[in-house]
């Protein structure tokens, strides 16, 4: 076949849209599917239920990410503590480190999510004063901080929420600070998160 056939593939894939597949066995996935996380890299994997079970074996290095979204109404991270973390954007996901790994924050940026390593001593100090941090499942859950537009909203969310936000911003982020389109999308994201958190069954701290 001598004709350049890339055009066919591109056309088909554009029309069909992205098809999510299990990262391990490549079977097609429904919109709602399981996720696993590698807790040190915080890399998220989309899986079918079979691979989710198979890959979660003891010592495999993968953890199941159970979907979770909880508003923390009484919670507030002090301005001084936030400043110490030196996160340049008003929205960030704080992760409890797995074992000896360094504590990490993920936040939106030009490259999707930007990863910032946090000072371990700072983290220990924060953990001592904010009990929720010690309760996070390493890699699989995060404290989500929203300080945009004067807000002080905090959530406990599963890791897939972090990448859902990153996906939303991928084509919208402009420059270093995001731009109007990105922040409008972020507002929408939090509106939906709030609705989800309200709708989900009451979870216990």
């Amino acid at each position: 076949m001598s004709a350049p056939l890339a055009g066919i593939r591109m056309l088909r894939q554009f029309v069909t849209g992205p098809v999510e597949r299990c990262d391990f066995c490549r079977v097609r996935l429904p919109d709602r599917h399981a996720h696993l996380v590698e807790p040190t890299s915080l890399r998220l994997f989309c899986t079918c239920s079979q691979c989710s079970d198979d890959m979660c074996a003891e010592g495999s290095g993968y953890r199941r990410v159970r979907p979770r979204q909880k508003v923390l109404p009484g919670f507030e991270l002090a301005d001084a503590d936030w400043a110490m973390m030196q996160i340049p954007i008003d929205v960030a996901f704080l992760f409890r480190p797995d074992g000896d790994a360094a504590p990490v924050a993920l936040f939106p940026g030009p490259a999707g999510t930007t990863r910032s390593q946090l000072n371990p001593e700072l983290w220990s100090d924060l953990t001592a004063r904010y009990a929720v941090l010690a309760e996070l499942e390493p890699g699989a859950e995060a404290l989500l901080v929203n300080r945009s537009k004067g807000r002080r909203d905090h959530y406990l969310v599963s890791t897939d929420h972090c990448y859902a936000l990153a996906g939303l911003l991928r084509t919208r982020w402009r420059g270093l600070t995001g731009g109007e389109e990105a922040w409008s999308a972020i507002d929408g994201y939090f509106a939906e998160l709030n609705a989800m958190a309200r709708g989900s069954p009451a979870s216990h701290a």
Binding site: A3, G7, I8, G17, R26, T171
Partner: protein, 170 residues
């Protein structure tokens, strides 16, 4: 019709789709996608009917072989899933064509299966550097995609790794 006709049209399609794909999500982009989908569906339905008529003519096999051998037609058969040769057959042919290159590098390539729009392969390159491996994977992907552009994805797994490798979908 000259050979250039299908080629130039396909190139035009590739260029235009690249532009559309790069657009931010919008009403216009979604409308363009929807319009293309409808046009493809229309032609797909008609072609499926033509294929049925051809099959019933008793000369189906010969005719389809002729269609597949015709560059102006083959691309459309692939696009609509009407190519007489199953993707696996075409993938195997491509792998056969790669055998000398693989042998020269001491590489071992096994086709695990072609299923659900995905070709899954295992690649071993004993003593190969990262760059060598990457280049080889690229060459293999290209050959398979050219032979079977109707596949969604070519997944080449390094036999020793435990983590899933990034698939070659592009």
């Amino acid at each position: 019709m000259s050979r250039a006709t299908a080629e130039s049209v396909l190139r035009r399609i590739e260029e235009q789709i690249k532009v559309l794909d790069a657009l931010p999500e919008s009403h216009a982009r979604e409308t363009a996608r929807g319009a293309l989908e409808a046009v493809l569906d229309l032609h797909g339905l008609a072609l499926a009917r033509l294929a049925a008529v051809v099959a019933m003519s008793g000369k189906g096999e010969d005719l389809f072989a002729a269609f597949a051998a015709d560059d102006q037609v083959a691309a459309v058969l692939l696009l609509h899933g009407l190519h007489p040769e199953m993707p696996e057959l075409r993938v195997r042919r491509a792998l056969h064509g790669l055998a000398p290159v693989l042998r020269a590098q001491g590489a071992e390539l096994h086709l695990i299966h072609v299923r659900d729009g995905v070709a899954r392969l295992n690649l071993r390159l004993p003593g190969g550097s990262r760059e060598q491996m990457a280049m080889l994977r690229h060459d293999i992907e290209e050959a398979i995609i050219e032979a079977a552009p109707d596949l969604d994805e070519v997944a080449i797994l390094n036999e020793v790794a435990h983590a899933p490798e990034d698939a070659a979908a592009s």
